[in-house]
């Protein structure tokens, strides 16, 4: 009986731990195009600020929880205060890499002062 209770508790603890681990930080501003990637990459923090030139700067912090160095791509779309896409000449996919079991950072700056919000897409 004791053994069963111990096993059940251990299983529950394990499931809880795995659940917390894989959920991570979810933010509507970040979309994983490849779902498989989101099992390895967590977004842990997003911060924004307006710099001295009135441009919105964003920093996205993520964590590569796999035991493999990973290289993937991201793209940032910028939106004005009415949620219209702000045209940018450099809105293509960019490379980013993350060491195994390590944090990584994505820094982005709005193309002009009209950019008030952003959406980040991540793919393999």
């Amino acid at each position: 009986m004791k053994k069963t209770l111990f096993s059940s508790s251990l299983l529950l603890l394990l499931l809880t731990a795995v659940g917390c681990y894989s959920t991570g930080h979810s933010d509507p501003r970040v979309t994983f195009i490849d779902r498989g990637l989101s099992t390895h990459i967590n977004i842990t923090d997003i911060s924004t600020s307006v710099n001295s030139g009135s441009l919105l700067e964003a920093q996205v912090v993520g964590y590569n929880k796999s035991s493999k160095y990973r290289r993937f791509q991201y793209k940032v779309d910028w939106f004005d205060e009415t949620n219209r896409l702000v045209k940018s000449t450099h809105d293509h996919w960019r490379d980013v890499s993350a060491d195994q079991k390590s944090e990584f950072h994505i820094n982005a700056i709005g193309p002009n002062p009209d950019a008030r919000s952003f959406k980040l897409k991540i793919r393999k």
Binding site: G53, L55, K87, H92, R94
Partner: protein, 210 residues
């Protein structure tokens, strides 16, 4: 038995012609438009538009984030494009890099680029040539550009694109490209921003990197 041959011959010829036609059409490469927003074709040893786009984006972001273009009290700086040296083995029009940066910087609201002054003479000679109309009786002189209206540049953008090839093994080589740019305050001659983007490519020795 021999009578059957003349009848079979036309059928055989027809089948051979169809087979040849199908074979030839199979070899034909069809033309298609490239999705410029998601071009996932393989990399090439030389520099292609994706490399210039990536380097230009990274440098514009770095320049905007540096604060060098934040004019005290607001407004825009006037920027002149100086020499951008192509020190690679490829025939490159450096505008592939600079034009993208110019467009992005103009849209940022931080900079306006002069086409009347440049390291190799004005990009647009007409701004100066149009001033010769001052002596023409054929033109309404009120519509001719007045003296003292042109705005002198405050900053200049100069740079270099470098290439270094390394033979890794009998069958492999690598090419390292470096995009280097400097933003100089024309008044003081001091560079207030400098950026470098490095790009590495690895491929077969048979690939041509020039």
């Amino acid at each position: 038995m021999n009578n059957t041959h003349p009848q079979k011959r036309p059928i055989f010829k027809g089948l051979a012609a169809i087979a040849l036609l199908v074979g030839l059409s199979g070899c034909q490469t069809t033309t298609s438009n490239i999705d410029m927003n998601n071009d996932q074709r393989g990399a090439v040893m030389g520099l292609d538009y994706r490399d210039f786009g990536g380097a230009a984006s990274a440098m514009v972001d770095d320049l905007l984030a540096s604060g060098a273009l934040d004019k005290p009290g607001g407004g825009r700086y006037v920027l002149a494009i100086s020499r951008v040296i192509n020190d690679t083995m490829q025939k490159i029009d450096t505008d592939q890099l600079i034009k993208q940066m110019r467009v992005a910087l103009l849209r940022s609201g931080k900079v306006v680029v002069t086409t009347a002054v440049g390291a190799n003479g004005p990009e647009d000679r007409l701004a100066m040539d149009a001033r010769e109309l001052r002596n023409s009786a054929e033109f309404n002189q009120q519509t001719v550009a007045a003296k003292g209206q042109m705005i002198a540049p405050e900053y200049s953008l100069s740079g270099k694109i470098l290439q270094k090839n390394v033979r890794d093994s009998k069958s492999k080589q690598s090419a390292i490209y470096s995009f280097q740019l400097s933003l100089t305050d024309i008044n003081t001659g001091l560079a207030f921003w400098e950026g470098e983007e490095i790009l590495g490519k690895s491929g077969s020795n048979k690939s041509v990197a020039w």
